[in-house]
Amino acid sequence: MPVDVEQSQTQEGTGSGLCFLVVEDHAFQRRILVHTLRGLGADAVHEAEDGRAALEILRSAGTRVDVVISDLWMPGMDGLAFVRELGASASRVSVILSSALDADTRDAVAAEARGGGVRLLGTLDKPLTAEKLEPLIALHRARP
């Protein structure tokens, strides 16, 4: 089930005006990413432990999500199954995939996501930092 939501005060930053969904099974890594996004000025940061919980959040009425940041290797619904579901649902949400898995694996999942119609901003190697995230968030803003 969805973990919780962190509301931020409005601040200027790369993430300002945007709502994020963090899909990460490891609580420490998820917490750090939530803090990082809040530091970038995110309007709201939703959290989910796996793909199924993330889909619940995305399907819930009244929940706005602009950018999803998802891990790949998670218990329950993993990142690959999650992006497949996302593509099948014709969601317009932007997606960033992150993992400590090797680049070939990340690239393979990215190719499948793009092929399935997912609006993929890119893939990132862990650990995630504000500096790595900012160019991809900027790319989301530049998209129509």
Partner: protein, 110 residues
Amino acid sequence: MINEQLVEAMAIRARTSKGVIARSFRESTAEDMAKLRTCAAARTWGEVALHAHRLRGASEVMGATAMAEASRMLEAAALGADDARAARALDMLEREARSLDAYLENLDAR
């Protein structure tokens, strides 16, 4: 043991403190290690690989390179269902985890 500069920068950008991050990491590492011991004793190698992978990711966030490397070795051994290699890697990881915990406790007290 960790990259303090990296954690300090992360704390500033995330509008929190180095101590809060260190405490959170110590708690999550203790949980990860407990799960690893249980899964290794049961020889459920898929679970060992997953928890070692998670610990590697968390260690990399802190710039704890020795811990990340020990986790990577256990992850690889577990994926190969190699009992002997997994036992050696878990021993190494236990030593790294104890050293790192003592270091972080001291860091938190500073």
